[in-house]
Symmetry: C2
Subunit: 197 residues, 2 copies
Amino acid sequence: MPKGIVLTTDEQNHRRHEIFEAALDTFIEKGFVETSMREIAELAGMGKSSLYDYFGNKEDILIFVMEEALENVLNNARRINALPLSPEVRLRQIIEMHLEYIVENKKLFYLFSYEGRRMSSENQQRAQQGRYMYQDMLRGLIEQGIQQGIFREVDPLVAARMLINTIIPVVYTSRPTGAPQVMMQEILDIFMNGIQK
Amino acid sequence: MPKGIVLTTDEQNHRRHEIFEAALDTFIEKGFVETSMREIAELAGMGKSSLYDYFGNKEDILIFVMEEALENVLNNARRINALPLSPEVRLRQIIEMHLEYIVENKKLFYLFSYEGRRMSSENQQRAQQGRYMYQDMLRGLIEQGIQQGIFREVDPLVAARMLINTIIPVVYTSRPTGAPQVMMQEILDIFMNGIQK
DNA sequence: TGACAAAGCGACCAGCGTTCGCTATAATAA
DNA sequence: TTATTATAGCGAACGCTGGTCGCTTTGTCA
């Protein structure tokens, strides 16, 4: 972009996206800390200090699209949870949606899982808040199932956490035995079989 | 240690342990990359460049005790696996042992889970090799159970991975519903219930 | 007593994220 | 048409970082 031209908010946002896309691959390949602002600037085709006109600092690049992604998963989950279906079916659909979202944004979630701890405590807290909401939704679903006599009397929070923690490894396993969706079905079967009466 | 005194191998090893202990807390509190060699040196009560007489570089501090820890878990697992017990009991005992080891070396394993990706590819490969052996052992156990007609015909590798991946989050959850051992029992119950006929 | 080995360290290096003041230029006002 | 203003973009500098090197100090041993 030549000098002197005033960018609209949309253009600025587009530029931010360009920078992020340029950084993402390198973040994933080499890690967040190991990727230098000089590299990002070069990939984005601009001077290093110009990056700071679009992002306050390096971390801001990392969290640029995180908020949006987490919000989307949470909203999709809420939508499914509101459907008039049995707890079991809703549980399955939410996990399938969640998996699909991670598969589609594989690089992004990889970054979050492995570099999320590098975010400022403020940003980490925000992310955890979202995770808690999600967790509590699944817990509520399991509680419903127990009340309806479909599920055994398991600890609903432990079960919810257990289920959530199986998703990420399915996508990023180094020795997949098939498509993530297939592996997830197998895991869901074991889990459901495990909590059903 | 004053100059001129020649250290025995044991003394050198003890010194290495001192340095590692000094670094460990800071690694966990601030992260591996964010902890400087200058800080570690200060905590260890020595000049920064003297650290390099005991560790080749920063990463060597990180992996100093990793090899040993992973080896121990693997050996313990092998020992349990050789006992004349049913696959289910052996599976349970191995996971319980694994959990206990992580609980007892909580800080260490936290570091491995969150900073392991920062190790050189060589060290990462070694760690993964160990993980594969462990995984295959559990897979074999599940296969045995299937052959003996105790377990349903689940995908043994997927089930093994699923089980392994539930352990770490139990120890490091930010909202525990009780002792890790209790949570793990609940998870083991769900899992066993899930794969049993 | 002199030569040697080794523990320890200060000074330095290249590279890092970030800041700041400057330049160039399109849009606007007079 | 000319002067002013706003801003996109950048080069140079700053205080950090992990790591290296050559020197000093001191116990040991021939």
